[in-house]
Structures are given as structure tokens and as C-alpha cells.
């Protein structure tokens, strides 16, 4: 039964995602719902399954309860395996000390034992906050073809955007000669996607050396990658072209949801590269005789009698008669009561928007663009009858407005 694994995945899922504000008050970023029936972590997990990777360690730290219970035994992603499968790896105490994961590299360092159990040739490092579909098997083939020690997936971004990313400067053969974190004057537009394949023996040594370096931030981007470059290890950039989005901010999360409604965005859930998720047996959604639905996504268990326009509804949402939703994302089991209006907004789970309340607004109605933004209503919050939640405003989880 025991055999060496060619590659296993370590998925960094411990981040708070503080720029998602009220949406990550109670859950880790990878557990944030997306696209009607998914959570962000479904994307990297499904990519692993579809790429033939059967062993995934998920490193958790910030508010792990919901993430842990969501992943469970990994069955929805076909990751319930006899040898391998999905493992939740929280920080732990030892006889000498107990510490949190200090950085991305330290998180992997603390789990060297886990990786060694599978004795893999390569380790794939992923983060749990991106929406994309990618065949890691192809990236591995490239990694092997180049006989690389490290391969970093890169995406072409526009020159203006490049200064927001870690940029890889490469030679003609794809080898990386320089790495610049958020450069003011970028030399290339190859942005790191935070997806790395490392030769495990090499990485293991670098992790141990890094741990023994006082003052290190124990971070892949800041320490491990620059150290490997400085030592002239064989490092290559793997070009990815396809949909990829960092959903680390309210705007980008909202945009990625809207991209599902745009056939030209390149984000298509309904293809052979299936994104799996933990589903519950909700009934089909019901559309009443007062409903109007166009250019929208609706999940199971919804009961709709209002107007939907460019809207994403998660399961079990109720939209009552006369309610109007435009460019909205409404998560599971929320209720939009009679005559309420929700525009350019994200409503988290179990929220109630009472009769005639107004959440968010169209950017066209906002004279000062700096005043405009996506309105957000936190989980379980209530917006009382006739109340207004202005654009960019956020209602805390459980708060009553």
C-alpha cells in the first residue's frame, strides 16, 4: 500500500483575509462562499482532484471551525483515501514549545513530518484565496521537463497592475533570474499566482535553513524564493493563461461572482473541469408568478417572487414579491422581504433585509465615485424595515440596523 507519491499538495488556508472585513469576521477566507454553491477552497481542492493529486494537507489557523467541518473527510472532492486524502493541519504544541504558524514557510516547516510520511518527489504549495481552474499535472510536467528545483506559476497582467503583484523576471527559456515584490517600475508583467512546485528535498533543506535564520519572516515570497534565487537554483516560471482572480477584497470577490454571469469572462463552472463542493439536499428552487429573472444564477432551495437582474443567489434564499435585486450576491438562507432593494451588494448568510429596506446603490447614482463601493451585510444581520445601507457601508455580523 505504501508508495512514494510523485507530488502532494500543501494548501495554505490559515489566512484571515482581513480585507474581506465583515465576511471573514467569523470564518477563514478559504471558507468564504462563492458562486451560488461553492466556497473559495473548492477551487484549489477540485483542481487537485482533477489533476490527479490525492493527498492534500490543509494548513489552518484563523477561525478554523467552519473550514474544518466543511472539508470533513474530503469525500465531496474524492479525497477520502486509504493512503493519502485530505488532512487538516493546525499548529500544534511540542515538548519544547508551542507556536502559531509564523509565516507561510514556517507553516510548511512545522509539517515536515507530514510531508515525509509520503516521501514525495515534489510538493505543490497553494493558497486558498484564488478563483481559477488549473491543471497542476501540466505544471508538474513542465517542472520535470525543465528539471527545475522550483516552478512558479505566473500570469500576464497589465503593466499598471504589475506593481500590485510579485513579478518574475525571466530569461528566454523561462528560467527566473529575478523576483521583485510589488515593484514600482516593473520590468515584466509575469505576476506570481502564489502557486509553487518545489523539489521536496531542496525545499526541505531551505525550510530548515530559513527556520535557523534569526529575523526571517519565514515567508515564501520574502525569504525562500529570494534565497533559492541567490543560490542559483533552477527556477522556472510556468505561464498560465486562463481565468484567475485573487478574491481578497470585497470588490474583487463581488467582481468574481459577476464574472460568472459574463460568458466572456473565461470563468465557466459548467465544463468538464468540475468544481466540487459539499452539497446539501435542498429542493429545486421555486419561481413564483410575480418573479422576473434575467442574467442571474440561482441555486437550490430558493423561493423567488421578486425581480433579479445580474444576481447570484446561494441556496435557500427567499426573495419576496416586489423585492428588487440588481448586481447583488446573496448568500445562503437570507431573506429579502417585500419591496426591499438590494443593488451592488453582498449579503452574507442568514441575513434579513426587511420590507422596503435599501442596501447599496448603482454607481451611476453616485455623484462622487470615491463615495461608491459595494455594500456588505454580515452574516445573520438584520436591516430593519425602511432602513438604508449606503454604498460601501458594512453591517457587522448579527448587527441590527
Amino acid at each position: 500500500m505504501k508508495q512514494q507519491k510523485e507530488m502532494i499538495t500543501m494548501l495554505l488556508a490559515g489566512g484571515q483575509g482581513s480585507r474581506l472585513y465583515v465576511l471573514t469576521k467569523e470564518v477563514a477566507k478559504p471558507a468564504v462562499p462563492f458562486g451560488g454553491k461553492y466556497r473559495i477552497i473548492d477551487f484549489p481542492l477540485s483542481n487537485c482532484t482533477n489533476s490527479g493529486i490525492d493527498t492534500v494537507g490543509v494548513l489552518t489557523q484563523y477561525r478554523p471551525l467552519e473550514l474544518n467541518s466543511y472539508i470533513g473527510n474530503g469525500q465531496p472532492w474524492d479525497l477520502d483515501r486509504m493512503y493519502g486524502g485530505v488532512y487538516i493541519l493546525p499548529p500544534y504544541a511540542t515538548d519544547k514549545e508551542s507556536e502559531w504558524y509564523k509565516g507561510t514557510a514556517n507553516a510548511i516547516y512545522q509539517n515536515i513530518n507530514f510531508i515525509d510520511r509520503y516521501n514525495p518527489e515534489n510538493v505543490l504549495i497553494l493558497s486558498g484565496d484564488h478563483i481559477y481552474k488549473m491543471d497542476y499535472a501540466k505544471m508538474l510536467a513542465y517542472h520535470k521537463e525543465k528539471e527545475a528545483d522550483a516552478t512558479i506559476a505566473v500570469l500576464d497582467v497589465s503593466l499598471e497592475e504589475a506593481s500590485r503583484f510579485g513579478i518574475m523576471n525571466t530569461n528566454e527559456d523561462g528560467s527566473i533570474y529575478e523576483f521583485e515584490e510589488k515593484p514600482k517600475h516593473p520590468k515584466s508583467t509575469k505576476a506570481s499566482m502564489g502557486i509553487y512546485i518545489f523539489n521536496w528535498k531542496k525545499l526541505r533543506q531551505y525550510l530548515i535553513d530559513d527556520e535557523n535564520t534569526p529575523g526571517s519572516a519565514n515567508d515564501f515570497g520574502k525569504n525562500i524564493i529570494p534565497n533559492m534565487l541567490a543560490n542559483h537554483e533552477r527556477m522556472f516560471a510556468y505561464q498560465f493563461d486562463g481565468y484567475w482572480k485573487d478574491v481578497g477584497t470585497i470588490e474583487s470577490l463581488w467582481e468574481a461572482n459577476m464574472d460568472l454571469l459574463n460568458p466572456k469572462s473565461g470563468l465557466d463552472l459548467d465544463s468538464d473541469w468540475r468544481i466540487f463542493s459539499r452539497n446539501e439536499p435542498h429542493p429545486p428552487h421555486f419561481v413564483g408568478d410575480k418573479a422576473q429573472i434575467a442574467e442571474s444564477i440561482v441555486s437550490e432551495g430558493c423561493d423567488i417572487n421578486g425581480k433579479l437582474w445580474y444576481t447570484v443567489l446561494f441556496s435557500g434564499v427567499t426573495v419576496e414579491e416586489g423585492a428588487e435585486l440588481n448586481s447583488a450576491v446573496v448568500m445562503s438562507n437570507s431573506v429579502i422581504q417585500k419591496g426591499a432593494t438590494v443593488k451592488y451588494a453582498i449579503i452574507a448568510e442568514d441575513a434579513v433585509i426587511e420590507e422596503g429596506a435599501v442596501v447599496g446603490d448603482d454607481p451611476c447614482n453616485c455623484s462622487d465615485p470615491s463615495e461608491w463601493g459595494i455594500a456588505v451585510v454580515g452574516r445573520g444581520a438584520v436591516v430593519k424595515k425602511g432602513q438604508v445601507v449606503r454604498p460601501k457601508e458594512m453591517i457587522e455580523p448579527g448587527q441590527v440596523r
Partner: protein, 373 residues
Amino acid sequence: MTSKTMCILFSESYGTAPEALSAQRTLATVPFAGRYRLIDFVLSSLVQARIRDIDVITKEHYGSLTDHLGWGKDWDLDRKNGGLRILTPFTKSESANTRNRSKIEALLSVKRFIERSDMKYVILSDTNLVMHIDFEKMLAYHADSGADITMLYQTKVWPNHTGCVIDVDESGHVIDAYFSNTKHEEPQNAAFGVYVINKDLLVSLLDRAYTFGWVDFERDFITKNIDKLKIFGFAHQGFSAVIDTVEDYYDASMKMLEPGIRHEMLFQDDIPLLTRVKNSVPTIYGFNGKVCNSLIADGCKIDGEVNNCIIFRDVEIEKGALLNNCIIMQSTIVRAGARLNCVITDKEVIIGKEHTLSGRPNYPYVVAKGQNV
């Protein structure tokens, strides 16, 4: 109480069946209400009552059943003790033609299995029932009344009822039971094929059945023993439908669009209707989609007009198509400009451009699985 109870479900009715829908599958797995199979109702009721030892007797073409039930995981019935078992016919080839012609024969074929069980009570149930049965109450009623057999019935106006009708006295004692196919416009005590029976009694009745060549469950087990055994009736509360014909199927399906029944049968959080969970994407509505009073499952692409319909998973309805009062099963494609009225399409049907098909509510037009119209 429920921990001392096992259940045997019949995947077939051994009587009339909606042939057009059950020719290629068991009656138990006829698709229903957008994402379910008929057996989901009784299975969910059993799980709700914490009955976790369930056997399903099959007869033939049970591929869809094994596919749907698997090892019972989606009903939380993948247990070390008990759980869900599918009992496939176990016979020698020479008797293949005569196996399991009736409920009694089906039970005889698994008699040794029943004998071995250490359960005290056995629930026997059909699977073509669209209803939430309160098995916990029914079992308590069975034990409290000291009954040998308890049968489930409902007093209601049921003009098309064909089957067992019972007379009960004030104490709930069944004093008469007979087969009836007379059309009634007044309420009658219609029995469902749902029984609680003491296990030892079931075994001894099966011995007699073998001896005397009994084949009809209601006639031979119930009516013939009406004076010898303590047979009680337990009244069902709430919605009920039995699917014996295509008309029954269509009628019960369309009832799910009525608000009260829909909430009672499908949308009750405390009585969840469990079913096999699949990975469909959410449904996407196009610019021209227009939907009214319909149930729509996941994975659909809707760009046409849909009124009073039940749409299963992964159905595609193109621009300009118009559907009224239809039941469209999984993976059907309705091409642009097609017009359908009172049509049932089985799985994986394609309705071509500009085609018009129409049935009547009491005689819906059925398109068989995989047809390209």
C-alpha cells in the same frame, strides 16, 4: 422502539405501475419533483424516525436503484450495524421466470434473512408513495394497541383509488379489508401499502403462505386473518399520493407547485427530504428567460418561457421555447421555438427546433428516455 425495528421496502408495486416511466427502471427510482426519486420519501421518513436497518427488495432492472442508493451514504445509512442493504433476487436459473411475482414471493425469497434478524418489528412498505409518514408514531401506536399488524390508511376522497379499503371501529381495530376499484366521490378509508408487523408473526405467515400457495398480501395476509389477528389501522395525516399510473404521477407532480403542499412536502427544514447529492452547478438564467410558478433544479440553462413546470437537473431551454404544464427530466434539451404543453420528457431527451407537442392534464404526452424528437 425504533431501534427494535427493521424495514423492508419493495422496489416494485407487483401491481399497476406507470409503465411509460418505469419500463427501464424500478418504480422506486422514478424521478420526482425536480431532483428526487420516489423512494426518497419513504427513506427520509424512516431516517427521520431513526430506523436504520433498511432492506430494499428488488425484482429486475434495478441498475437505477443501486446507482441511486449506493451504500446509503446520502441518507446517513452507511452504518456498521444495519444500514441500507439492497436485496437482489437470489434464485436458480430454472425459476428465473417465476421469481418475485408478488410481494409474498418476494418476502419468501428473503425469509431466512428475516428469521436471522434480532429485530422485534418489521415495517413493510411500498416505495411509490409521495408522503411523509410518521413512523415513530405508527410504531408507538402498534405497540400501545398490542396489534399483530398495523396498517397505514387515510380517510379521504380519492376517486381513482384502486386497492385495499378498510373498515375500522372506534378503537382503530380493522374489521373489514377488501379490494376496491369502484369510483368513490365520498371519503373512504384507503389503505397504503405500509404495514408494521411483529417479526415472528411475519415468519409464521410466510410459512403458511408457502404451504397454501398464498400470493396476494392484502387478501391472504390481511383479509383471511381479519378475525384471527389483531389488525389495527393507523391514520395518516397530511398530504399523500400513490403513484400507480402516469396520470397519478403527473397529478402528484403538479401538486408540488401548490404553495401549501410544496412547503409541506419539499421545503420543511425539520422534515428534510434526503436524496442522492450530485455536483451540479447552479442554474443560470439568460436574458430571455421567463419563468412562472415552476420548480427548477440545479444545472439548468434557461433562456425560454416556462410556466407551471417542473424542470429537473441540467436541462437546457433555449430562447423562444415555450413550456406550459410540463415535467422535463434530467439533461433534456428543448431547442429554440419548441412548444410543449402537458408533456413529460424522460431523461436525456432532445426536442427539436420549432416542434410542438401537446398532451392533456389527464393524459400527458410522455417522451421516452433518450428520444430525439
